[in-house]
């Protein structure tokens, strides 16, 4: 999704995780990701850092937040203006209403897949998105063949995923306990799961990932 604000071209993507880039003309931009938790009026800080395409002064050439599960995210883009300081040039709140959202059900258990489909439908009712379903079960997939030609706005992988080597962002040895730390001590279990799925029911797992719990 490209947005043009004055001269700034802002590229925001959510598939499968939050990615933001600003294509000039300035060299320094700051992006902050915040989240509205439980419909609070005030958002909570998740992650923020500044970047530029040329990697001058800083290490990053874009902003990304690797969490793949649902968040009621708000993205703010700032630039530095002389004698003013930080100036917010754009704010975007996650909204997939009318957009295609792909749900990959990673299980070979039909009952589990069926349970997860219930959560997918609940998500669709809540957010108004267009469902695209991928599973091992054609019967389930065919329920959601709308033939939309829109690009996929967001993908949710629903499954029981082990932590991977890309779950790198930990503090100290907390990783042993299955925690990832972001920004101001925001903790989640992995980039796929907000909580440890062990001990959760199939319904709990999909609801966790889709923000329905």
């Amino acid at each position: 999704m490209y947005i043009t604000v004055n001269e700034e071209q802002i590229d925001i993507r959510f598939n499968p995780y939050v990615y933001v880039n600003v294509l000039g003309p300035d060299t320094l931009y700051y992006v902050e990701l915040r989240e509205y938790v439980n419909n609070d009026n005030e958002s909570k800080f998740v992650e923020g850092f500044h970047f530029n395409e040329k990697k001058e002064y800083i290490e990053n050439d874009c902003f990304s937040f690797l969490g793949e599960f649902y968040g009621d995210y708000e993205i703010s883009v700032y630039k530095f203006v002389d004698n003013i300081g930080l100036q917010r040039i754009h704010t975007h709140r996650y909204n997939d209403c009318g957009k295609v959202v792909q749900f990959n059900l990673v299980t070979d258990n039909f009952n589990e897949a069926n349970t997860w489909v219930e959560s997918v439908v609940e998500y669709q009712k809540k957010h108004g998105c267009v469902i695209k379903l991928n599973s091992d079960f054609e019967y389930l997939n065919n329920r959601f063949k709308y033939g939309s030609k829109l690009p996929v706005h967001k993908t949710y992988n629903i499954g029981r995923f082990e932590k991977t080597s890309t779950d790198y962002k930990t503090i100290g040895e907390s990783r042993k306990y299955g925690k990832l730390w972001f920004g101001n001590w925001k903790v989640f279990w992995s980039y796929q799961h907000p909580r440890n799925w062990r001990g959760l029911s199939a319904k709990n797992i999909s609801d966790d990932i889709l923000g329905l719990s």
Binding site: L28, K44, F45, Y57, Y78, F80, N83, G85, L86, N184
Partner: protein, 530 residues
């Protein structure tokens, strides 16, 4: 009665502490033994300090009644050190219990900790009375801003990064340089406006959150735009940073006071309160009867605070106490000092305070090594360097010998009996025993002790020396007073630039050997080069 070990590690400020039967036995910062300043080592663990306390106390960690790790806890390390047998203690709770229960204050006391963050919050406020603490407010990191981060990331951003990606000036280490430079700057509304875009204050709330990221962005941008490319520009920024910090936090304290006017005593901890100029502003508020800043206000103070909290829970500490001193580190007896001296060919004499006072008056730089080393960031008379305060040129000499920046101000020690003659206001003097607050200097004294007075605002950061708390330190002041009529000396920490305060006699002898000091008073003897 119980023995309580507490530790903090995994970031800056790694420290170990031990309380036995409600009495503080040891508090040792890792940096003193590791010989790397905590601010240069943001992932240090209390390895050497815990071993040293075990060695000195002869109490194995596993044999203590309680083992505590302060949040954020490095889980695997904590398991390793305690064999998995430990409890976790809140970060700000440890700060607050440490400050309130060492404040010596009776009656109603408002206790505030404020730093860059711990246990998901940047600040906690407790309402305290007669040994009871009631949580009043917690400020969550995800929605509140941090003045500590404003300072930390301004410090880093002003100077930028070296070729290895390391900040030239470091978080939790070099903030004092900006505070020092602030004295020579001036007001600039544009800079204030820019700072307002990263943090502001209104109605008991500092916002927005993530002051760290926003300040880093602002300062990097300002640096690229040339805002810091001269000494003068750095001073102007620093002035406005200090001014804006004071303005916001003083308003916050006023708003708290409006809400709870019955609280006129305050205890503070957390890294923000290393800012002695801010502390001065608070102390000068009319409604503040007394304030106390926990002497180890940064994260190095957490383990002692955690030990105190546990002792309070156990009923072994029931009321705020007054600290005699902060000498909770390692000490050396005469025999050990002699062994350390064997590698050097120095002249040795018995200590005579009159002779040393005369040396001071003659302009000599005296190394002062007594007792167990101090806990906390200040040299308070155990590992100090003493110089006469009467000549401004002392700065140049000291900076050259110690390889320090010019901008770092020097502080006075003053005999308790003369404090009110020289400095004002006459309050929070117990806190001033630990050099945690700046005071204004009376006109008559400004030109008499210029080496320890901030030339722009004529303030100083005095340490009050009380005779019955540190008699030897008091005595040298008194002897110097008899010669000069000045009951003040310059006291700076016994270390070179970028080094932790020294620990052992060898480090002191090395300073003498390298001509950093002219004479070394160590134990009951004086050493000097032949």
């Amino acid at each position: 009665m119980s023995s309580i070990y507490a530790f903090f590690g995994g970031s800056h400020g790694a420290t170990s502490s031990l309380i036995v039967d409600g009495e503080i036995k040891y508090v040792i910062e890792e940096e003193r033994l590791l010989r790397i300043k905590s601010g240069n080592n943001h992932s240090s663990y209390p390895d050497l300090s815990s071993l040293k306390i075990v060695e000195l106390s002869k109490l194995e960690i596993g044999d203590a009644d309680y083992r505590i790790f302060v949040e954020p806890v490095p889980d695997l390390y904590a398991e390793y050190l305690t064999n998995g047998n430990y409890e976790r203690m809140g970060h700000h709770d440890s700060h607050c219990y440490g400050s309130y229960f060492t404040s010596g204050m009776d009656g109603k006391v408002m206790t505030i900790s404020y730093d860059g963050g711990g246990e998901k919050s940047v600040m906690k406020i407790y309402l305290c009375e007669d040994g009871k603490m009631t949580l009043f407010k917690t400020m969550d990191m995800s929605t509140f801003g941090s003045l500590s981060h404003l300072w930390g990331f301004s410090t880093m951003g002003m100077m930028g990064w070296d070729d290895y990606g390391e900040p030239i000036w470091k978080l939790c280490k070099d903030e004092g340089k900006l505070m020092g430079m602030a004295a020579d700057g001036h007001y600039d509304q544009n800079i204030i406006n820019m700072l307002k875009t990263v943090i502001s204050y209104d109605n008991l709330k500092f916002s927005p959150s993530n002051t760290a990221g926003k300040t880093k962005f602002l300062l990097d941008s300002m640096r690229v735009m040339g805002y810091f490319n001269s000494k003068e520009k750095k001073e102007i920024f620093s002035y406005n940073l200090q001014h804006y910090t004071n303005e916001m936090f003083v308003q916050f304290i006023k708003d708290l006071h409006d809400l709870h006017p019955e609280y006129r005593k305050f205890a503070f901890s957390g890294g923000l309160f290393a800012n002695v100029k801010l502390n001065q502003q608070i102390n000068e508020l009319e409604f503040v009867d007394e304030m106390f800043v926990y002497p180890s206000m940064g994260d190095e103070g957490l383990p002692l605070g955690a030990c105190i909290k546990k002792a309070v829970e156990l009923g072994e500490i029931t009321k705020p106490i007054k600290l005699q001193n902060m000498f909770f580190g390692v000490g050396y007896d005469t025999e050990e000092i002699n062994i350390h001296s064997e590698n050097y060919d120095f002249q040795k004499e018995e200590y005579n305070s009159t002779v040393i006072a005369q040396d001071l008056d003659d302009g000599k730089i005296i190394g002062w090594f007594q007792d167990r080393f101090e806990h906390g960031p200040r040299a308070l008379g155990a590992r100090s360097i003493l110089v006469k305060p009467t000549e401004i040129k002392t700065h140049k000499l000291l900076n050259k010998r110690l390889n320090r920046y010019e901008i770092m101000p020097f502080a006075p020690i003053v005999m308790e009996e003369y404090f009110d003659d020289i400095f004002y206001p006459s309050k929070s003097k117990y806190s001033a025993e630990f050099m945690t607050i700046c005071y204004s200097t009376r006109e008559y004294w400004i030109n008499k002790i210029p080496a320890v007075i901030q030339k722009s605002d004529k303030s100083a950061r005095p340490q009050i020396v009380v005779k019955n708390k540190n008699e030897k330190f008091w005595e040298i002041l008194n002897e110097y007073r008899k010669i000069s009529d000045i009951p003040v000396l310059l006291n700076t920490s016994f270390n070179s630039h970028n080094e932790p305060i020294i620990d052992s006699p060898t480090q002191a002898f090395e300073a003498l050997n390298k001509n950093i000091i002219d004479k070394l008073v160590i134990g009951d003897y004086v050493y000097y080069r032949k």
